[in-house]
Structures are given as C-alpha cells and as structure tokens.
C-alpha cells in the first residue's frame, strides 16, 4: 500500500508488478520501481510465506566433498531434471550445498525452520546427521544414493548396484577374461562397495582380492593413482618407483580392469595408454554410469548405463506426491543395462 501511495499507481497494479505478472504498462512499472527504490520497500516474500504457510519451494541438497561436487558428472543432470519436474508443478527448486559440517548444521537449521516445503537429498549418506534432523520434522523428503535400499526411512530412488555390476562382470567372463583387476570407488560410499560385491559375486572362484584397489574419490586423477598403487603393490615396488606397466600386467596375467565409475576408468585408461598398453587388445577396461566420459575416451568405454536424469524426475515426483497428501512409493528401482563399446 505504501508503494501504491508513493507511486500513484493502484494497489492491484503494484501487486501484479511485484508478483511478476506481465500485465503492467511500462510507464506504471517505471513508477512502481522508482517508488520501491525511494521508500526502500521491505521484501514481502517472508510475509507471503507466513500468510500461505507454504514457500512453494523444494530444496535439493547436494552432499559431498567440494572436490566430488565439482567433478561429479551426474549431479547437474539430476538437478536439472528435478528442476524441470518441480517447475512444471509450480514449485521453485533451490539448491543447497552440504560440503562441510558447518554447511550441514546450517541446513539443519533451515530444515527445522521450514525453509522449503519439501526436500530432495542427493547422495546423502546413512551416517549423515541430517538423517536424524529429518526424522524429527514432518517435511516431505526423497533420497538417493543413501545405500539403505529397502530399509530406507525415506522414499528412495536407486539402482541395483550389485546386480548391475555382476551383469557387467559376467559379460567380461563371457569374453574369457579371468584375471580381472578392480578399482573400487571411495570408502564409506555405499554404492561403491555394492558394486564391488556384485563384481566379487559374479567372479566366484576367480575373484582375487589382491587385484582390488580403492580409489580416494570418484575423479579421473584418483583412477590413475589407484592403478599406479595396484601395480606397485603387485610388483613389490616402493611407492616412489615407477613400475614397468606392460611387464607387471603380463606377469600377473591381468586381462581386464573394471572400475567403480567411468571417471576412474577414464583416468586408468589414460595411464595405461600412456605406458604403451593397448586397449582392449592387452587389457579390456570397463566403467560404470554411462556418463559423458564414457563416450569421450579413446577407445569409447564399455560400461553400465543408468538413467541419470530419472533420479531427478523420480525424487521430484516423490516429494510432489507427499505435498499433495498422497503416499510416495518407499523405493523406486531404476533399470540399468550393460553398454558395449570398444574398450572391452
């Protein structure tokens, strides 16, 4: 009403302008904008939320170390797809980054204070303190990557990491590979150990724990580093000795390498090629994800396809279900399949 008075424009027109309705003449818009500046009009988003008891926002929490958020090839695809779905339903997606304990605490405060109408938790780990926070509030939640599987306390979207990894391994066994090395994704990430378990199951008696090595994170550099570590260990060499890569592989009869994701595989592959190893002739290499990396490598990567965008769509739908008072499914399993390219 103050803005209407100062600008000399009707309350209804001011309201239309402030709500972004395009039916405001340029002249009126100009006068309203000037009045807003002159009287230092106070933001009314808070007041509006209080009246409606809804914020019309859904928060998307990105969990992970800063390094993993900047190198994750999937996270923005999930986010953009969730955004589109929520946007069609009239909700604004707001993304919050949980990359430190302090960020987690700030987000916990936002959860308790009703910052958003619903919450999408991407890559939230089972031991994250936010799990407890969400148990104590009544907000719609959907999660992915928590590794809870069927026992998740919140509606969950996931793939069957174990079975998908086993299927990829059976494909390699079918190509007569028997001495298969494995670069596992980082510790504490449930899907990383699920993928390793699937590999181990499918390998059966051929599984050799000395050929398994753990990467520090999901990035390419870690793939290189993990492979180097494995080769040094197999050669009985110290960590400052460069191994003769083709010789070590031959001596250990290693004929294939499976990696916890495509980035690790891309890094390992670059290292192998730089040391004169031919792929797939000398060693077959396979990844997981079917992210853009899988087609950017040379040769392109044999991998497991997962429908990344669908994580976003399904988590958005689960939150929308709950906002509309419906029950969300407790878990949605997304389909995967092996994609054969030239690396294996």
């Amino acid at each position: 009403m103050d803005v209407a008075r100062v600008s000399g424009v009707s309350y209804a027109t001011v309201s239309r302008f402030l709500n972004g309705n395009p039916h405001v003449s340029p002249e009126a818009a100009e006068r309203i904008a000037a009045a807003v500046r002159d009287i230092h009009y106070i933001p009314n988003n808070a007041a509006r939320s209080l009246v409606r008891q809804r914020t019309q926002t859904v928060a998307f929490v990105m969990h992970g170390e800063p390094e993993s958020i900047t190198t994750d090839p999937n996270i923005n695809t999930i986010m953009v797809n969730a955004n589109r779905r929520l946007s069609d339903a009239g909700y604004q997606l707001v993304v919050l980054i949980a990359d430190s304990d302090e960020a987690g605490e700030r987000i916990a405060r936002l959860v308790r204070s009703g910052f958003a109408d619903g919450w999408i938790l991407n890559n939230l780990q089972v031991d994250d303190p936010l799990f407890t926070v969400f148990r104590s509030v009544d907000a719609p939640v959907a999660v992915s990557g928590a590794g809870y599987g069927e026992s998740s306390p919140f509606p969950t979207v996931d793939i069957d990491n174990r079975e998908a990894s086993a299927e990829l391994t059976r494909y390699l066994l079918g190509k007569d590979h028997r001495h298969i090395a494995y670069i596992c994704g980082p510790e504490f990430i449930p899907c990383a150990s699920e993928r390793l378990h699937g590999f181990q199951e499918a390998m059966g008696d051929n599984f050799d724990p000395t050929l398994v090595v753990q990467a520090e994170d999901w990035g390419r550099a870690s793939g290189q580093k993990a492979l180097l570590e494995l080769l040094q260990r197999l050669a009985g060499a110290s960590s400052d000795t460069a191994p003769n890569v083709p010789a070590v592989l031959k001596q250990q009869h290693i004929d294939a390498l499976v990696c916890g994701n495509d980035c690790l595989a891309a890094g390992a592959m670059q290292y192998l090629i730089a040391h004169g190893v031919r792929i797939p002739e000398d060693v077959a290499v396979a990844g997981f994800d079917d992210s853009p990396d899988a087609q950017a490598t040379n040769p392109p990567l044999t991998t497991v396809h997962q429908p990344i965008g669908q994580f976003g769509v399904q988590m958005a739908d689960m939150v929308l279900n709950q906002l509309e008072g419906d029950e969300a499914p407790s878990i949605v399993w997304l389909p995967t399949h092996v994609v054969v390219r030239h690396s294996a």
Copy 2:
C-alpha cells in the same frame, strides 16, 4: 511458545533447538521433536525473516540451456567457491536454475519479493529480461560472463577473453603455424565472439575466415560436429559424405586448430585421432579454460588457464561488500596465462 508448552521444555531451550544450537540435551530434543510433530508446528523461517528484514541467503542463478548446465565443466567449481566464501560470512547460498523463460519469470518474481539478500548471476547474458528486473530493485548483485566488460550496469567479474585468446594465438604463430582453423563457441555468447576476435587480431593477415566454424554449444559432441562441418565445407562435399580427414587437412595446409574451449577441443581431437591424424605432429590443437578436460585428453591439451574458482570467490565478495554497505568494485579482471602441454 506452543512447542514449549506441549513439550514441557523451556522456551529458551525450544528456541535453541529450532535454531540448531547444539546445547540441547538429547532428552529435551526428543520431547521438542515430538511436540513439533504433534502440534504440526508451523514453519517460522518466514516469521524470522520478517522480524530481521534479512533472509541471510544469497541466491546464485545458473543461466543457460539445460544441456549447457549439465555439460559445463566450470559451473560447479564457481558455485562451490562462492558457497564457501558466503558460508564463512554467515550467509546461505541458494542456487536457482534459469534454464527456460518460465524459470526466468519465476526468478524475477523471487527477486521482486526479496527472496534473497543478494544475487550472484553466473553467465547472465546482456539481453536477459532479468537485467531489467534487477535494475528496478535495490538488491546487491554481482555478475559474470555477461560480456558487458567495463560498461556493465552491475559489479562484474571477468577475464580479458580477447587478449587471452590473442596470447594463445601468438604462441601458435611463434611455433610457425600459419594456417590455423578455429572452432568458435556458440553464437550469442559474448565470450565466444571475444575469443574469436582475439584470435583474428593476433592472426592479422594470416586470418582466413573460411577456416572458422561455429559450434552449437560448448560440449564435446559439438566440437566433433563443427570440425566435420568445416572439413566437409572445405572439401566441397555434401553433409552426408564422410571427408578423407588427413587429405583435406593436407590439401588446405591446416597445421593447427584453436577451439573456443577445452571441451570443443577434446571432441575435435577425438575425431582427428580416430581418423588417423597425429597430434601435434600433423595438426596442433589448443583449447581454452584449463578445465579438467584439458588434462584428460591424450595428448594433454595446450590451453588458456583461467582461475575458475576465483569467479565464485570474487562474486561472493562483491555481494558481501554491498551487504555491508560498502561499494563493490565495478569490475574485477582475473588473470589468465597460456598453459603449454603436449597438443600444441
């Protein structure tokens, strides 16, 4: 006060719990949480904002097509760095995605309604309707990638794209390359045309407009596609004929290829290698950005380094300056330099 009454816990303790203060006994926390559930406690974030007239949030707007947001290798690095800086200053970064006209309109409403205390606009283009919206409100703003340069209406962080590209080109000229092809970033992106201008300036009389081709977006696939289009055009071939790549390059004396960014270069390089062209022996290739892609290619990419994370830090600082009542610099130029690897 309702929660305090129902839970039998003091108002001060309830307030501490709801504000995320850890000094609440587990037993009290349990009782407060139960009361919050029982009485369906109404979110108080809106009320708190109204009392304080500050939301303690800064919005980060990601502009671009959905495809460019999912393939941009820099955007999350900028976001994570802005988040850290704002977080240290007690502000919560909230990310909004402006990937469609409707999203832009929704964000315009949020701007007018005081959704956030400040705004970071990443890759906002000069003709974006949000520019007009921000002119009409009194909120702290910082922008990057707008291509306004010194004449930006808002505090701006940028690099000198033209000079950086010229420097890279002079490096190639110094290596005796004279017939240099150029894959330009997408139309309407100011930095893409600035980089082309810098290339043209440095080439001088050696500049040959028939060796310039435009990519559809910044992704690897577009790099491949643009190169194919250029080769077909140079060979006078129709778009459904596969050119003899080494023959066309030789016939046209093309000895180097500069690309508007690293992803375009990675895509073009993959295509060249797949068609038997040796890099750098037959054709030198250079990119721009020094993104992770530049080290993932084989051979690694000669490129222009820009300090990506600093875009986030500087934009955050500009908004914080304004929030504290200080003046932000109208423009901060970030330094760049040529990084020589093995591709050129």
